[in-house]
């Protein structure tokens, strides 16, 4: 914890942290090792490095899951939902953070209610609703769903952040004659970049990984998302760890790669989002 110089204590701390990280990675090691082995190798020595490694599991998982089109579907649904969430969420939060009335505060609490409601409560009425809108089997239905379901959390994040912003920016712009709309889009929204990063990654992770909803709304439509395709072959009777784990690696890979590429922004987004 010495903030000032790299002394012996810091060096020891570094060693301890690296040891912890290595232990922490053990499940990931098991995942990758097993995905590169055939059943006989797994039965013989599950944890030793694969010798020789085989990519058969990946080939099989890729072809049975038809991942190409699923990647496309997942991307369309995730990106469109994020755009809608950021647009609706930031506008609403700007209002909720600035409004001074009790009604406005009540509205904020109403949004927060969405965070504690168990999803099971509204499953069937919501399905009927999406069905009546004619959006079953269509990515548009999923986009509507994710936008609504993730709004409470998005509004919560944005509102907290905007409350801590000095009002003078927007006020100054308005004195110059700008409308609320212009003041928000030109002045306030750019200031929200750190928290937008946080909103983006957290919602993206949730939407990309969600399995039950796309199965419910998109099953059999040809618009299956990646998790739906992956779990299509992780069935009751699949006994081959290597194959299942290869499927898990393939399913997790896109989001992990995006995280690794953007990690600087993701983690910074958290930090600066929090600092205000």
């Amino acid at each position: 914890m010495n903030h000032l110089r790299y002394g012996r204590a810091t060096f020891l701390l570094e060693l301890v942290m690296i040891a912890v990280a290595v232990a922490f990675m053990f499940p990931v090691y098991a995942l990758i090792t097993l995905s590169l082995k055939n059943p006989a190798q797994i039965a013989e020595a599950p944890l030793s490095p694969p010798a020789p490694p085989t990519l058969d599991n990946f080939a099989k998982a890729w072809s049975s899951a038809a991942l190409g089109p699923s990647l496309m579907n997942s991307t369309i649904i995730t990106v469109a939902s994020l755009v809608a969430l950021i647009a609706l969420g930031s506008f609403a939060a700007y209002f909720l953070a600035r409004v001074q009335t009790r009604l406005g505060y009540g509205l904020y609490i109403l949004f927060l209610l969405g965070i504690v409601l168990p999803f099971q409560l509204g499953t069937i009425p919501l399905y009927q609703l999406i069905n009546n809108l004619g959006l079953i089997g269509s990515p548009a239905g999923m986009i509507l769903f994710y936008t609504g379901v993730q709004l409470p959390f998005t509004v919560f994040l944005y509102t907290g952040f905007i409350r801590a912003l000095p009002r003078e920016y927007a006020s100054a712009a308005q004195i110059d004659g700008a409308s609320h709309l212009t003041a928000f889009t030109r002045v306030v929204f750019p200031l929200l970049r750190p928290i937008t990063g946080t909103v983006l990654i957290l919602n993206a992770v949730f939407i990309w990984n969600d399995f039950f909803t796309p199965l419910l709304y998109l099953g059999g439509s040809g618009f299956e998302t990646v998790p739906v395709s992956i779990f299509a072959f992780v069935g009751q009777y699949v006994s081959d760890y290597g194959l299942v784990f290869a499927g898990l690696v393939l399913g997790a890979l896109p989001i992990v790669v995006i995280f690794l590429v953007l990690q600087r922004y993701v983690i910074k987004g958290f930090s600066s989002g929090l600092k205000g």
């Binding site: 990280a21 098991a30 209002f95 099971q120 009002r167 927007a170 929090l274």
Partner: protein, 323 residues
């Protein structure tokens, strides 16, 4: 299987440090010289409110009605039974037992996840060379689907002395366990899996709090002769209060609503050892075909989560203010 839950996605926040998530509106009234006149129009919130009402509020309210019926979940047969479902719950060993499990699991997750998260944050905040890499490593599981994590950990927890965690323990000469198969251990094993996935998440929030602690304060304390422990106790810890509030609140909600991981790892077993309110309401609705009763359980869970969150926010906020 995200069979389902939103709780599966790690909850989070990025509320600016020191800013209450839900302050009474007047607290900041003095902030703007131009006051309410410059408050943005209602129209700004209208589209979000519409979508939210359509997708969350309306279905939840419509769903609550089922809690007072004996609907099986399919078909047209349904009659109102008043409060019978809630009375049934009072004599339902499975539901009552699950409340205890839910609370124990939540406490374990909240305590360990935040304890580990704080230690990781303190370590990764220090001037060590690998800190960027360490942050990435510890945070990475957060972005992976909880269902996939549960699949992986089911293997890690298998009782074979040569595979998974037991294999690793055996390598160091330690005895293995039947992590998910031993009824007295299974609940804690699930907590361990959840902590592994979400500790990095708590870490990142604590890190953001730590970065808000001015270095000058530490320097001043050092000059006053304060040791590492004292500096943590009197300088760092009080300033971490907002981050702690957020972490506690989110891990509590996540723990109480936890479903995916329990379902994928043990399905509530062995026996009923890991049955939680979420798995019970799931089974009632989709396995036993008692949708009405399930909705009643869901309603109880929602009220429980709301009450706990409210008390928690109220208590922690007052603690922050006191400091």
């Amino acid at each position: 299987m995200s069979v389902t839950s939103r709780s599966g996605s790690p909850p989070t926040t990025g509320t600016p440090a020191g800013t209450p998530a839900a302050p009474a509106p007047r607290r900041r009234r003095a902030g703007g010289r131009f006051g309410a006149a410059l408050s943005p129009p209602w129209l700004f919130a209208a589209p979000a409110l519409l979508v939210y009402a359509l997708v969350v509020l309306y279905p939840s309210i419509a769903g609550v009605v089922y809690a007072f019926t004996d609907w099986s979940g399919i078909g047209g047969d349904m009659s109102f039974v008043g409060l019978a479902n809630f009375r049934t719950m009072l004599g339902d060993d499975q539901a009552l037992g699950s409340i205890g499990n839910t609370v124990l699991l939540t406490i374990a997750i909240v305590v360990v996840q935040n304890g580990v998260g704080l230690l990781l944050a303190l370590g990764a905040h220090a001037r060590i060379k690998s800190r960027t890499v360490l942050r990435v490593v510890f945070f990475a599981p957060v972005v992976v689907s909880p269902v996939m994590i549960a699949f992986l950990w089911k293997y890690i927890y298998n009782p074979d002395p040569h595979a998974g965690l037991n294999g690793l323990l055996g390598f160091f000469g330690l005895p293995g366990h039947d992590w998910l198969g031993d009824p007295s251990l299974a609940l804690w094993s699930i907590a361990g899996m959840v902590v592994w996935q979400n500790a990095g998440y708590s870490m990142v929030i604590f890190l953001a709090g730590l970065e808000g602690v001015p270095v000058e304060l530490h320097e001043a304390a050092m000059i006053d002769g304060a040791g590492t422990v004292q500096r943590f106790r009197f300088v760092t810890w009080p300033l971490l209060a907002p981050a702690l509030t957020i972490n506690l609140m989110l891990s509590t909600i996540g723990g109480l609503k936890l479903f995916d991981q329990v379902f994928a790892a043990t399905n509530g077993g062995p026996g009923y050892a890991t049955e939680t309110l979420s798995t019970v309401l799931y089974k009632q609705a989709f396995v036993y075909g008692k949708f009405g009763y399930s909705t009643a359980v869901a309603l109880v869970l929602a009220l429980f989560v709301a009450a706990v969150s409210f008390v928690q926010i109220y208590y922690l906020r007052s603690r922050e203010v006191a400091q």
